[in-house]
């Protein structure tokens, strides 16, 4: 269950948030949403693919952590085995809320921080304090605020990025067939990647535009990130050997 409420320093002054990475805190995901503004960090560790939201049918980029549901190959007994954890995962248990405020008589939408009080990270004894004992944000909460702002901006930009990819038919579906050393086979369907043939056929004016928007870099970073599938495979094979 989730219980999303507006974060405030009165009711939530004693709250702490566990920042360790573990399955018991909901980290055992096989992918998470990502966006071009963090592709540079993400592509260093994870393959970036595209996937459809089953509720809306719309595309978004994902960083892949494993080959099937509840199979996160970066999650170890000692925590997360990579130096960068994507923001949409790190933000837990916080999320962005919208609030309408009247400023100078004009209705305006304002972004505020919400917290999921039922999230297993939330408690009163362990982890990072959210507020100082006598009020005021901790550095941790400021960091969370920055993270949420980056996600908000990143997802808006991602939407524009995806629209451009679709406009130029630069996405194509693919099936990833994986064979492990022990002969076990996995087939991953429902993922999309950059259509390199179409990309190579784009004319100069379109390329210039993509470059100006910063999307050309994002396209190539997502293509380059595919080599991380090899790393995932090594992790999977190592996992099997340990057993």
């Amino acid at each position: 269950m989730t219980q999303h409420v507006l974060l405030n320093s009165v009711e939530h002054k004693d709250l702490k948030v566990i920042t360790d990475r573990s399955a018991k805190y909901g980290d055992n995901l096989w992918y998470t949403v990502t966006f071009p503004l963090e592709f540079r960090s993400v592509q260093a560790h994870y393959p970036i693919f595209f996937h459809k939201d089953t509720a809306t049918g719309q595309f978004y980029a994902v960083a892949l952590f494993g080959f099937k549901n509840e199979d996160n190959l970066f999650l170890t007994d000692k925590g997360w085995d990579a130096s960068y954890v994507p923001l949409t995962l790190r933000r837990q248990p916080f999320l962005i809320g919208k609030q309408m405020v009247r400023e100078d008589g004009i209705e305006q939408e304002q972004h505020v921080i919400h917290i999921d009080l039922d999230h297993p990270r939330v408690n009163k004894n362990h982890g990072e304090a959210v507020f100082h004992a006598f009020g005021g944000n901790t550095d941790y909460l400021d960091e969370v605020g920055d993270m949420l702002a980056a996600i908000h901006q990143g997802l808006n930009d991602s939407q524009a990025f995806i629209d451009v990819l679709l406009e130029h038919e630069l996405l194509e579906s693919f099936t990833l067939d994986i064979e492990l050393d022990n002969g076990e086979k996995h087939q991953m369907i429902g993922f999309y990647t950059i259509n390199e043939e179409k990309l190579n056929m784009l004319d100069g004016t379109v390329l210039t535009k993509l470059h100006q928007q910063g999307y050309l870099q994002a396209i190539y970073m997502s293509m380059a990130s595919q080599s991380n599938v090899r790393d995932l495979l090594d992790r999977k094979n190592a996992q099997h050997k340990k057993r």
Binding site: K52, D53, T54, A55, T56, G57, Q58, F59, L166, E169, L171, E172, S173, Y192
Partner: protein
């Protein structure tokens, strides 16, 4: 005679005219939906400004998906602008026996659009026959019976446009469909649209134009725009068949002695509330002298009683229609005033003569029992588009080919529709008895029925390619109607095992999909916010 075919005139708007215009323009004047800078063909559609389109034809086949895709229309746009919904087949109610003769309520069966599981590589029907007492054919080999009973959609919002989880066509508002096609054809495919009355059709004057074959149409005469010439004329003028039937005097072959229905009463009915489920298939409920169609659009239902005027009269037909509507409309059913339509069941001997092709009702029309009208429009238009003769002197060769297939299609439609009546056990009127009278049944159908007593319909029963109804359609109708085919004594064990796996897979898919798929209404609501993607 060597003159290239470059100018095409279509007489008549409506769905037939605009589908034809769209398909020909997309084939010859566009590439991937983009209009060529120098279009090969000059296509003009002439439409009378004040002739109302018939606007029934509200059910399509799955072929409409490829037609729309070819014409270059976005599926979400089409669904929203034409009040369209997803159709997964036709449900036949009370066709086997009249409801009052059934101890356990109504008998009904589905003729779904999806092929039986395993088809076309594996013919599964013979392996179902030994199990017919335990499970219906449709439930054994297909998921759409369950899916449609729950009013579920054939796909999800994440399924690309025109792709499916279960095969589907559409229910649509024919008037709005014509408008969308017209707008698309004129805006994006450079089809010229002339609103004018055609006052005369003028044949070639042999004395002055010796290079053009005798009997060709030279031009049509219009009130405002004078003479309009073309190399090829397409007659989409509806039942009047102005060019092919009237001017070129191609004989009309009546099929009333086989399929008696020649009258219809049609009406549009609102839903009792905005959230009523939208049916996933056309409902066809047999009556004493005909049957009632029921087509669910998101905004309303289109309902009509089609019947034989030789067996009943309009008044009785109206009463039966009202009795059908009464559970939904209550007392308001008395206020309705349906529109009367007369049908001449049959078709012209050929659809292509000289430099004129008829498409749609101008070529022929039959009761909409299997919604074949638009399917035949699409087939003919695609045939003309893909086989367009390069010159006048090659035209007769193409015409001969198209006519041959046209005749085969009509024969199959008539025999397949007739099948629905022949295997009925209804005995509540002369109408049903007459339908089973041997002299009303085409010989080839009688022969096939004799064969199907001993083996399931298979692709070998149909000798020509590109048939409209596959063998599976015959299986769904025959076995839906409890037709008895003697099970084969010897079936190969390996194949039996393969069939068993397919039955199991089908069962699993059916229960998984019943959980997974949204309702028609929920999916259509979602489409107001998010479109189907192209991939």
């Amino acid at each position: 005679m060597q003159k290239a075919v470059t100018k095409i005139v279509i007489v008549g708007g409506g769905t037939a005219g605009w589908i034809t215009a769209g398909l020909i323009a997309a084939e010859h004047n566009a590439d991937h939906g983009r209009l060529s800078p120098s279009p090969k063909l000059d296509i003009t559609l002439i439409e009378s400004p004040d002739v109302p389109t018939i606007g029934v034809g509200e059910g399509t086949w799955p072929s409409m998906r490829s037609t729309l895709q070819k014409i270059g229309i976005d599926e979400t746009t089409f669904l929203l602008q034409c009040d369209a919904s997803f159709k997964q087949g036709s449900r036949f109610i009370d066709w086997q026996v009249a409801a009052n003769n059934m101890p356990n309520g109504q008998h009904s069966y589905l003729h779904p659009f999806s092929l039986p599981i395993g088809e076309p590589q594996f013919a599964i029907a013979p392996f179902w026959l030994p199990h017919k007492a335990q499970v219906s054919f449709v439930d054994a080999v297909c998921q759409q019976n369950q899916i449609s009973q729950l009013a579920l959609a054939p796909k999800q919002i994440s399924t690309p446009q025109y792709s499916f989880i279960n095969n589907y066509g559409y229910h649509l508002n024919a008037g709005k469909f014509s408008q969308l096609l017209q707008q698309h054809c004129t805006d994006n495919l450079a089809v010229k649209h002339i609103l004018d009355h055609v006052t005369d059709i003028v044949l070639v004057d042999e004395t002055t134009q010796t290079d053009v074959p005798k009997g060709d149409i030279s031009h049509v005469l219009t009130q405002q725009h004078g003479q309009i010439h073309a190399d090829l004329f397409i007659d989409c003028s509806g039942v009047k068949s102005l060019l092919l039937g009237e001017k070129l005097a191609v004989p009309f072959i009546s099929q009333k002695h086989v399929l008696f229905n020649d009258s219809a009463l049609a009406i549009q009915v609102p839903y009792s509330d905005d959230n009523s489920p939208i049916a996933s298939c056309t409902h066809s409920t047999a009556q004493t002298h005909g049957w009632i169609w029921d087509i669910g659009l998101p905004t309303r239902r289109g309902i009509g009683h089609v019947y034989s005027s030789s067996h009943t009269n309009d008044e009785q037909a109206l009463q039966q229609l009202m009795a059908y509507l009464k559970p939904d409309l209550g007392i308001k059913a008395a206020d309705i005033s349906p529109r009367k339509l007369n049908i001449a069941p049959g078709h012209h001997q050929v659809c292509w003569k000289n430099n004129c092709v008829a498409i749609g009702m101008a070529a022929g029309f039959i009761e909409p029992l299997e919604a074949s009208a638009l399917a035949l429009v699409e087939w003919t238009a695609k045939a003309v588009a893909s086989q367009l003769p390069p010159t006048r002197d090659t035209m007769d060769t193409i015409a001969k080919r198209v006519n041959q297939q046209f005749q085969q299609h009509w024969q199959q439609i008539i025999e397949f529709l007739k099948l629905h009546y022949v295997i009925s056990k209804r005995s509540d009127s002369d109408y049903w008895h007459d339908h089973r009278a041997a002299n009303s049944i085409p010989d080839s159908l009688l022969e096939q029925l004799a064969l199907w007593r001993h083996q399931a319909p298979s692709q070998h029963d149909f000798i020509y390619r590109e048939m409209l109804f596959p063998a599976a359609s015959y299986q769904f109708v025959l076995y839906g109607m409890q037709f008895d085919t003697q099970p084969q004594v010897q079936l190969k064990p390996s194949m039996k095992q393969q069939a068993q796996q397919l039955f199991t897979e089908n069962n699993q898919r059916a229960s998984r999909l019943s959980q997974l798929l949204p309702t028609n209404r929920a999916l259509l609501e979602k489409l107001k916010l998010n479109s189907f993607s192209k991939i």
